[in-house]
């Protein structure tokens, strides 16, 4: 494991040229996302919207997986909780956007608070198993609590957000809506990981016993990180529910949890921007490659295996390593 790549880069002063470039690029990326809609077909725009929402979800998992070093296989539960909150509140009670947003985040965070009490008693593979089981509990509830969730039929006809100054019914406004959500989530999570709290999480990932010796409450840090990840997952779920207009137990399936995990691994865990890239790649790959071939699962599988074999730290990790090695050569 590369010890805190983020902090390493932060510590080394960069040449001024690189610095300017580094400031320019995120701006360019954001500008590209901002001006993209007129150049895209409607379908690609909806895919990009989908990618943004999944990026929020993958970034939230990164708090647990990348920064705290705990692999969770139940993260789809929070997506589902946020989405079900939207579906049930809008279709049954005609709730507006702000109500569903608060309800979705609180519900997901509350469930994460309960799940965290159970799951954080273990670590490593046992943590993985417990989160998997808890994820299945959430799926099972969505599947069997028919009076509330309509079971496998799912809840359809979820309207687009109401109670806002602009109409979000069309694809382009909703895309910008998701983009704002993505930017907010990115800003929030970046603030978290750069705070002393986030640094402590990285410390726990690297050596739990050392952090404990230093007097940190390790369990509490992990727990708060887990709840934050759940809450942001619910935030993504709210936008997912509105985006699809349909929520069903399939959103909470194990396959969805695994997919989020792969997004984080593919992009590079512990980098925040990596999971967002991973989410974009997987959403686009899954939906665009399948247009051309029915064997798209093979291609997706090859990408996963290739990542694990050749870039175990993900795309961002690999690029950082390459960058570090070229810099060493220069000096």
């Amino acid at each position: 494991m590369t010890p805190g790549a983020e902090s390493m880069i932060g510590a080394v002063p960069l040449p001024t040229g690189t610095m300017a470039f580094a400031l320019l690029l995120p701006g360019l990326a954001l500008a590209a996302l901002l001006v993209a809609p007129p150049f895209l077909s409607g379908f690609l725009l909806t895919l990009l919207t989908q990618a943004l929402i999944y990026a929020i979800l993958a970034m939230s998992l990164d708090i647990v997986l990348g920064y705290t070093g705990l692999a969770s296989l139940g993260h789809a539960a929070y997506l589902g909780l946020g989405a079900y909150a939207v579906a049930i509140l809008t279709t049954r009670h005609g709730a507006g956007f702000w109500v569903t947003l608060v309800a979705g985040i609180l519900l997901a965070a509350a469930v994460a608070a309960v799940f965290g009490l159970v799951a954080l008693r273990a670590s490593g593979v046992y943590f993985l198993m417990i989160t998997l089981a808890l994820g299945m509990v959430a799926w099972g509830l969505a599947h069997r609590w028919v009076t509330l969730t309509q079971g496998d039929n799912g809840i359809s006809s979820v309207p687009r957000p109401t109670g806002l100054p602009v109409s979000l019914a069309a694809a382009v406004p909703y895309y910008y809506f998701a983009l704002i959500a993505f930017a907010l989530a990115f800003w929030f999570l970046r603030t978290v990981v750069r705070s002393p709290f986030g640094r402590t999480l990285v410390g726990i990932r690297e050596s739990e016993s050392r952090m404990r010796t230093l007097g940190y409450n390790v369990w509490l840090h992990k727990y708060v990180g887990f709840v934050i990840a759940g809450g942001v997952g619910g935030f993504a779920g709210v936008f997912w529910g509105y985006y699809n207009g349909f929520v069903s137990p399939a959103d909470l399936e194990l396959a969805t949890s695994v997919e989020i995990l792969l997004m984080v691994a593919l992009g590079g865990r512990g980098t925040l921007v990596g999971p967002a890239i991973g989410a974009g790649i997987i959403v686009l790959l899954k939906n665009l490659v399948s247009v051309y071939t029915q064997r798209w699962l093979l291609i997706l599988g090859a990408v996963y295996i290739g990542t694990i074999v050749y870039a175990p730290e993900g795309i961002v990790g690999a690029v950082r390593q390459w960058h570090a090695s070229t810099r060493r050569k220069r000096t």
Binding site: P26, A32, G42, L44, S248, T271
Partner: protein
């Protein structure tokens, strides 16, 4: 900070790629049919049968509909509602199709219908049989040329009591809309005819190990009514036999339990199974005999009901397009024409829509038998021209809730 460089690079690359894919607008080109089917996952074999059916009709008719060339764009739903929704968006927004068709699983049907209405593109549902789409929650732009889940179950409930003489039945069904509606329809008419459903078991969609359910089945029943779909149909009959139940309790069920898509993969354990459906490959009419012969020559297997309904879908679109002179761009007129299609000689028999937009068609009671080393669904009784409302008045029927896991309630459990 190379993180950001790569991020920007990837986004730029993605955007360039997208620009290239965005399709050019075409005015009066070919008629584009967007076809949704599961091409991967547990129901891939069904998806293949569906695509083959449509392809066969197009091949037989020079790949033309109402004199215009046809372009079929098949998209893989993986049998998942979310993915089906994404693919629906792709077909409409990116491919600009004129008409949509296909889809599998009732809950996918419920998920797609509001979106289809939003897009205002006609969509044919040859397979997705969710009852309420032509009953309590009609969708204007959905043209159901298939069936409702409970349609074959209604006559079958009576048949089981009056002809087969079974009075006490245990049901085991797949736990989603289609399963509830097939079992519910059966229970309603079966109990009204004097039968008793004494136990209802539900297994989640995709279940392949039925041991925990089979061990619960009450042995004081006369028969077991099983409703299986996709991968479950493959496994259930063998496990039923291995559990020693086949010798004691005859197996009856919903049509998809012993559909032709699965029969070639089953052995003698399937023999004797009695199920109702809108089709059997063994229907003894010239139209069907020709269809089965040609289909076998082309694809090397017996057509399933999925093949037949999608084959007839090709013809259905053609009849409607012909009626409006091929002007499928006029969507309102096209939709109206699709609703007026009548096919007197489909392989499955005569088909026309009722006032609520669901086909009135024959229901075949079929028994699995072995002929020349192959399993066939021999037709043992035909109910002609059955409506989705069976013998009930539509208004009264619609007052009862849609069949679900707890409706009708299990009075004799």
């Amino acid at each position: 900070m190379s993180t950001r460089r790569i991020a920007a690079f990837l986004i730029a690359a993605a955007l360039i790629g997208m620009g290239g894919i965005a399709p050019a607008e075409a005015q009066k080109g070919p008629i584009k049919i967007g076809f949704l089917a599961p091409m991967t996952g547990g129901a891939a074999q069904i998806g293949k049968d569906m695509v083959n059916g449509l392809q066969m009709w197009l091949d037989e008719n020079g790949n033309q509909i109402a004199g215009r060339k046809v372009e079929v764009i098949v998209e893989d739903t993986q049998g998942q509602p979310n993915i089906a929704l994404t693919k629906l968006r792709k077909l409409v927004e990116s491919d600009k199709v004129h008409v949509l068709a296909g889809g599998l699983f009732a809950h996918v049907g419920y998920a797609l219908a509001p979106k289809v209405d939003e897009y205002k593109i006609p969509m044919l549902y040859p397979v997705m049989a969710a009852d309420d789409l032509t009953q309590r929650k009609p969708a204007k732009w959905v043209v159901r040329n298939g069936w409702t889940s409970s349609q074959p179950s209604h006559p079958f409930g009576e048949y089981v009591v009056k002809t087969l003489g079974y009075k006490r039945v245990v049901t085991i069904g797949i736990d989603y809309a289609f399963g509830w509606e097939v079992v519910g329809g059966f229970q309603k008419t079966f109990e009204e005819a004097g039968g008793q459903v004494i136990q209802k078991l539900w297994a989640p969609l995709g279940t392949t190990d039925f041991a925990p359910y089979l061990s619960q089945i009450r042995k004081d029943a006369d028969a077991v009514f099983a409703l299986m779909v996709a991968a479950s149909s493959l496994r259930f009959p063998k496990q039923y036999q291995d559990a020693g139940l086949k010798a004691k309790l005859p197996l009856i069920g919903g049509g998809t339990t012993f559909d032709e898509f699965v029969l070639p993969s089953l052995g003698d354990e399937a023999i004797g199974g009695i199920t109702p459906l809108i089709y059997s490959a063994a229907i003894d009419t010239p139209a069907n005999k020709r269809f089965v012969k040609e289909y076998r020559a082309k694809f090397g297997k017996v057509p399933s009901y999925y093949s037949e309904v999608c084959y007839t879908t090709g013809r259905w679109i053609n009849e409607a397009a012909k009626a409006i002179g091929g002007d499928v761009e006029d969507r309102e007129r096209f939709l109206a024409a699709l609703g007026k299609v009548e096919i007197p000689d489909a392989p499955r028999g005569p088909v026309k829509l009722d006032a609520h937009g669901n086909p009135i068609q024959n229901i075949y009671i079929r028994k699995v038998e072995k002929k020349d080393g192959e399993l066939w669904n021999t037709v043992i009784h035909t109910y002609p021209a059955v409506s989705q409302f069976w013998k009930y008045k539509p208004d009264e029927f619609l007052k009862q809730p849609v069949y679900d896991r707890n409706y009708p309630p299990c009075k004799y459990c």
